[in-house]
């Protein structure tokens, strides 16, 4: 029973993600893989994000003073097992951004990005092993409904609600339970396609993500854990009537979470995420985010 509970909780951990634009930081991991013994998993998340600074290309932090940059996001995730080893998932959200700098205030709301995913369990746990993890391979795609860096028309860029670019990704996730701990490690590569605006083109660029974390089964109902993610984006290049090139950016997200099993089918989760706590950050936003999520699971 405890093993099942841990797997259930881990499925929530694996689905944990943040809808955020690449320009403004945010864990853009796309994996939302069912790990528990469920046929379907449906989640609703509500998050509040506060951007409070940015980092330079030398890693120095500039903190905002009396500047408001808030994002409220409600998102919906659904994952479904197709066969024993194949599964699919989608995610979509609505975001409201509220930014105020000096006398300029902008409020924008709308859909974020549509994420679609296909995953295959290539390393199933068919027999007990002390060390061998379960392994998943996944393909993901991102279809934007908001603006991106190229197409944003707002002075404070409040119309960039998600990643904003068409992209595809491939990644792998490993999960291993050890006693009361459940550990995970994932890697992901994302390729973003060209984005056009008038006569200028933002050329395709790549993004790399690594994350690892662990959760601890405190009681039959409570599970606590952390997740650390490294995000790296290669330089972006614009060609056309203007030519410019950004530097690469990187940041580390640190998440602390607690999950509560309300009923055997439903979970309530609380996540605190901070991009300023760990590791060297370059050319990235500094932000904190609090998320509450409710997940309903339909067992096999």
């Amino acid at each position: 029973m405890i093993f099942k509970l841990i797997l259930l909780f881990l499925s929530i951990l694996s689905a944990g993600k943040v809808l955020a634009s690449s320009c403004c930081g945010g864990n853009a991991s796309s994996n939302q893989i069912i790990i528990g013994d469920n046929k379907y998993e449906l989640s609703v998340r509500s998050s509040f994000r506060n951007d409070f600074g940015q980092t330079t290309d030398k890693g120095k932090a500039i903190f905002y003073d009396d500047v408001k940059d808030h994002t409220y996001t409600t998102s919906f995730d659904a994952s479904m097992l197709l066969t024993d080893y194949w599964q699919t998932g989608l995610k979509l959200g609505v975001a409201h951004k509220s930014i105020q700098k000096g006398s300029i205030q902008e409020n924008q709301a709308g859909l974020t990005d549509l994420g679609l995913q296909l995953a295959h369990e290539f390393l199933p746990e068919l027999y007990y092993s002390k060390w061998k993890p379960r392994g998943f391979l996944f393909l993901s795609t991102n279809i934007p409904f908001g603006k991106n860096l190229m197409t944003s028309k707002k002075l404070l860029r409040s119309d960039i609600r998600g990643n904003g670019f068409y992209s595809v990704g491939v990644g792998t996730l490993f999960v291993k339970k050890m006693g009361d701990f459940t550990n995970r490690f994932s890697m992901e590569f994302q390729k973003t396609f060209d984005a056009h605006e008038k006569e200028n083109t933002l050329k395709s660029f790549n993004k790399y993500l690594l994350s690892t974390g662990s959760s601890y089964q405190l009681t039959d109902f409570w599970n606590l854990g952390f997740l650390i993610s490294w995000n790296y984006t290669k330089p972006k290049k614009i060609v056309g009537t203007i030519n410019t090139r950004s530097l690469s950016d990187q940041y580390f997200d640190t998440s602390l979470f607690a999950n509560y099993l309300m009923t055997p089918e439903s979970l309530l989760g609380f996540t605190y995420l901070d991009s300023s706590l760990l590791g060297k950050s370059r050319n990235s936003a500094l932000y904190r985010q609090f998320t509450i999520n409710y997940t309903y699971q339909i067992p096999l």
Partner: protein, 135 residues
């Protein structure tokens, strides 16, 4: 447990370097005294360390973007003070690029009260970005 330790060690190595909370850029802050200008593909944001006023040395932070991407000012660009009603400028502004597209402006000195502009002139593109102030 070994798996956990290995993954944690991997991240500790890869995460080396001061975290942002402990690595603050000196003398730069984003304040509420803010203005933004956009002309075609070019935009500039100016954050004053305090409300702009006459007869006092002031500092500010300038962010210059091309299509929303922080970019260095093109060669031969100029950043200067101008008083349109009087037809004259002011003392030179000291400009230091602290990160690509992010500049620290020092020694901004308005020599009298009245209408002032901070002008960013991009000669290669025939573009001028103006910040207007009533000091």
């Amino acid at each position: 447990m070994r798996f956990l330790l290995l993954t944690l060690l991997l991240f500790l190595f890869s995460a080396c370097g001061k975290p942002p909370l402990l690595n603050k850029q000196d003398s730069i802050k984003h304040s509420s005294h803010y203005q933004s200008v956009r002309v075609n593909d070019y935009s500039a944001d100016l954050y004053w360390n305090e409300a702009p006023k006459a007869y006092s040395y002031l500092s500010a932070q300038l962010e210059f973007r091309v299509n929303n991407i922080l970019s260095s000012l093109p060669p031969e660009s100029e950043v200067y003070l101008w008083m349109p009603s009087m037809g004259h400028g002011g003392p030179d502004i000291r400009l230091e690029e602290i990160s690509q597209g992010i500049y620290k402006l020092d020694e901004i000195y308005f020599i009298m009260e009245g209408d002032w502009q901070i002008i960013i002139k991009l000669p290669q593109t025939s573009t001028t970005l103006n910040f207007n102030y009533d000091i």
